[in-house]
Each structure stands twice: as structure tokens, then as C-alpha cells.
Amino acid sequence: MKARISAGSRLLGNFVVLLLGITTLMFFALRAAGDPIIVMAGENAGPEMIAALRQQYGFDQPLLLQYLYYLGNVLKLDFGASLASGEAALPLVLSQLPATLLLAFLGMTVTLVVSVPVGAWLGARPDRASVRIVSAIVVFAQGLPGFVTALILIQIFVVQLMWLPSLGHADVRTWILPSLSLASFLAPKLIRVIAANVAEAMRQEYIRTARSIGSSAASILWREAFPNAILGTVALVSAQFAFLFAGAVIIEVLFLWPGIGLLLFESAQTLDFPVLQAITFVVAVLVFLVNTLSNLVFRRIDPRIGQAVS
């Protein structure tokens, strides 16, 4: 029980450091942009409006006070209104969140569907010639940046063959290329890790035992080796979340997928700071949730980990 409380407080500590770090970074990014009020008010604002805004946001106060004031607003989940649309920033970001989560889910699903069988196959018989060739292809694929793959896919399937529509996410057919692009840069790494873990598991004693009592090759692979190999894989999948999200930004821009990434891109171009602050906040919360969740899953599949901690 005590161990559980201390683990919980450590998680909470992580969360506080993350949010504090991100909000502080955003605060100073705003300062680096010059006078934040001028950025916020736009180019056409008159002196009275600037003075009024300055007072409204507390920018006539000393820097430290401003910082505390800003943190207070973040605590109240008040990020202000978007400079572009006038909508409240946080609800705007949250309204775009489902599309990003859908993309992440689709990308992850394709990645797992491809990586698990291919990785297990590569790991089960590492010495075969065909396995070597596929391994080489995987190493090569790992060098392909996701957005380059996306551009090539668009060129082939949308521009040349005209099989698929490319933009938006209303039509289910537009889901195919973005999720494939996302999977293309997640899968190679995952395949290599699964293959390495399966190969490692296949060398263990219990595999020899299973073989000696006459278990079939498939049963050995899927019932004995694979469950033991999946552990490192779960760790990687959660660690890849940051990677997944970063990749999603550029994929969303490419396919005009109406998620947080596209919003980030548009808001960065217009320096729409309330929205940018809300986005980094939401992403920080997501990162925390995913890490905590994967930690729990991790403990569930491998009871040794929970014990080692306590």
C-alpha cells in the first residue's frame, strides 16, 4: 500500500514537472516573440486597444507577477481566445482532438497488424536467407522519413493512379493513406524489436523443453516465445507515442487531416499563442496519460515489475 502511494506521488510529481516545464517554456517563447500584446492584438490595433489589452492581460505588471498570473490562468484551464477565430482556445483544441486520436489509433493498428507477424516470423528463424532479405528491407524502411513515404504514396495513389482521394477525413477511403504513412515509420522499429525479443526468447530453456515434449512449431512460437517477447514491445509502443504524435503533425498537414497537428501548424504560422498554449497543454496531459496507462499494462502483463518496485 505504501509502495503504491509513493508510486502515485512520483507519477504526480512527473506530471507537475511536465506541465510546469511546458507552460514555462511557452511563457518564455511568447516573450521571445517580442511584445506579446502586439503579437496578440495584431498589426492594426491602435494604441488605446494595446493599452487596454496590456492591462487586461496584466502585462503592465513585473515579469514574475505576470508569470504567476499566467500559471494561475493555466490552473483554471483558461488559455484565452484564439486570435484567429475568437473561439475559446481549449475547447477548440479539444474539438480537434478526436481526429488526431483516430489517426493515432489507425496508425497504431496498422503498425501492430504488420509488425507482430512479420517480427515474430523474422525472430523465429533468424538464419534463413529469406529472413535476411526481409531484415534488410526493414532496415532500409527504417530510413524512410514518414512524410517522404506519405508524399510518395500520394504521388502514386492519388496523383498518378487516381485510386484514392487524398484530403480531409470525412470519407473512409481518405483514412487509408494517412494511417499507412504513419505506420510506415512506426512499424520498422517495432518489427526489429519484436524480432530481437522473439529470437532471444527462442533461445531460452523452456523452448527446448516445449520442443522436447513435442509441441508444434506454431504453438512454441505463439504460446511460449511470443508472450515473453511482447514485454519489451509494450514498453516501446508507449515510448513511441511521442514519436507517433510528432509524426502525426506532419501527416495531418499533408493530408489536411483536421486534428491537433494541423491546428498546431496553422496556429504556429499566425502565432496564435492561446491556441498553441492549449495544444501543448493537451499534448502534455496526453503524454502523461499514455505513460501511466502503459505502466499499468506493463505491471499487469509482468507481475515481476510491480514486485521489483515495491
Partner: protein, 290 residues
């Protein structure tokens, strides 16, 4: 005859032993090509990369003396590619060096100190690793503007935690080795242990991380430039070339293919070097977990 064949085989074997792996050798050879293209850029360019001939727009590859065709303003793609390589490689390289320096210092400090400073540093590194750094990079670059230094410094500043994590873990394990304990018992100073044992011990791991990080930075640079947030307008880096190609996908697919091929070539090459270095380290009995 057979003696000669033997000596050739022996020669190869010596090279292999020196470089340790086929991947490393291939990677270095392929990277040498990039360096040659950068060094002899002026001699290899067939046209002025910035000046086009409007009567010669969208020439296909190999037509009219244009090795890789021309773009929408009739500029020679081959010459532009060569012009941009130097920019992309040096931006990625410098960003890697910045991340390496900051990360190594933070990692070493975190491993040397104890108490709350260590906890805080580790927490910062943990969280920075979990947070998608590209998002921060996009925002910073949008604020400070395009350009070589803004981009390079930003990429370095958002990506150093990778090095900090590796250096921290490696240093802790090195400090527990018997030979370090022995030299400590002989009264060696902390600085002497650091310079004499820890830094040399970090080298194999760090070279591997450096290689992979360089590849990541190449991708990040091209991605940001492609988004219009990296290289200044007009500089023909891979990302900018890709950006410019987008409006002409139907008429001039080579405008897309050429920079794609450039990025893939460079990234695969650097990954080969990284893979080679890590298998070399494994052969020498070191374990590298990334």
C-alpha cells in the same frame, strides 16, 4: 596466383577487422559520396542553381543537358540539389553537435551529483523525452523565424535529452566498474576519473547515438523546411525542394522524386553507419541499448 589471392583476402580481412562490419564500411563509403558532392559542388554543378531559363521549364531528366531535369522556373534540379546538400548536412550536423554537448554535460552532472538536483534533472530529461520535441521545435521556429542558426539551435535545444539519458545511464554503470573503484582507492581525483575512465568509456555508445541522432536531425530539418518553418525561402534544401514540388506533381514528378531520393540516401547511409557501429560495439562485448 594463390598467394596473391590469399594476400587480397588478407587485405580485405584486415580492413574488416579495422572497421568491424560490412554495414559500417558500406555506410562510410556511401557517406564519402555525399562529402565529395559537397566539396566539389562548384565543379559538379552544370548550371547556376538560382537562375532559371523560362523557355526551359519542366525539362524531364536528362533532356537538354539537365541531368535531373528543370523546375517550374527552368532551374537545373541537379545543380540545386548539390547547392542544398551542404545546407542540410551542416544544419543537421551542427544541431547534433549542440544536442551532444548539452546532453553530455547534463548527463554527466546528473550522474555526479546526488539528491534533489539529480532527481530534478532526471525528471526533466524523462519528461522532455516523453514530449514530442517536434511540436516545441515548430513553435520556437515559428516565433524566432526561419534561417540556418534559428533552425540549428532549435533542433539542438529540443533534442539533447536523448544524449543526457544515455550518458547518465552509461556513466553510472562505468563508475561502478572495478577499475574505477581501484583508481579511486589509489586516491584518484574525481576529475581524473572523469577524464581517464568515464569519457573514454562513453565513446562507443556515444558514437552510435551520434550517428542515429544525425539521421534524426536530417529528417527533422527536411520536415521543418518542408512545412515552411526551417530553411529560408529560396535555399534549395531537400525540404524546400519538396515544398516547391507540391504544385507540379502532375507535370513534373521528378521534382518530388529527386529530393525524396536525396533524403532517403542520406538517412539510410547514416543509419548504416549507426548499425555498423553498434554491431561493432556488440562484437567487442559492449551492450548498447537505445
Amino acid at each position: 596466383m594463390s598467394a596473391r589471392a590469399n594476400s587480397v583476402a588478407g587485405w580485405w580481412r584486415r580492413i574488416f577487422r579495422r572497421f568491424g562490419s560490412l554495414e559500417l564500411l558500406a555506410g562510410i563509403a556511401l557517406f564519402a559520396v555525399i562529402l565529395i558532392l559537397i566539396l566539389f559542388r562548384a565543379q559538379l554543378q552544370t548550371h547556376d542553381p538560382y537562375v532559371g531559363d523560362l523557355y526551359d521549364r519542366f525539362s524531364a531528366m536528362g533532356v537538354g543537358g539537365h541531368l535531373l531535369g528543370t523546375d517550374n522556373l527552368g532551374r537545373d534540379v541537379w545543380s540545386r540539389l548539390l547547392e542544398g546538400i551542404r545546407w542540410s548536412i551542416s544544419a543537421a550536423g551542427l544541431a547534433t553537435v549542440i544536442a551532444f554537448l548539452i546532453g553530455t554535460v547534463v548527463g554527466l552532472v546528473a550522474a555526479q551529483v546526488s539528491g534533489w538536483v539529480r532527481t530534478l534533472l532526471n525528471q526533466i530529461v524523462d519528461m522532455a523525452l516523453a514530449f514530442p520535441s517536434l511540436i516545441i521545435a515548430i513553435i520556437i521556429v515559428a516565433v524566432v523565424g526561419r534561417g540556418f542558426w534559428p533552425l540549428t539551435i532549435t533542433l539542438g535545444l529540443v533534442s539533447w535529452p536523448v544524449f543526457a539519458r544515455v550518458v547518465y545511464a552509461e556513466t553510472l554503470s562505468l563508475l561502478e566498474r572495478d577499475y574505477v573503484a581501484a583508481s579511486r582507492a589509489f586516491g584518484a581525483r574525481r576529475s581524473a576519473i572523469l577524464l581517464g575512465h568515464v569519457l573514454p568509456g562513453l565513446r562507443p555508445t556515444l558514437t552510435v547515438v551520434l550517428a542515429f541522432h544525425f539521421a534524426d536531425m536530417l529528417v527533422a530539418e527536411s520536415a521543418l523546411s518542408f512545412l515552411g518553418l526551417g530553411a529560408p525561402l529560396g535555399v534549395p534544401t531537400w525540404g524546400n525542394l519538396l515544398q516547391e514540388s507540391r504544385d507540379y506533381l502532375m507535370v513534373a514528378p521528378w521534382l518530388l522524386i529527386v529530393p525524396c531520393a536525396g533524403i532517403i540516401y542520406a538517412v539510410v547511409t547514416v543509419n548504416l553507419i549507426g548499425d555498423g557501429l553498434s554491431s561493432l560495439a556488440r562484437k567487442r562485448g559492449l551492450r548498447i541499448d537505445l
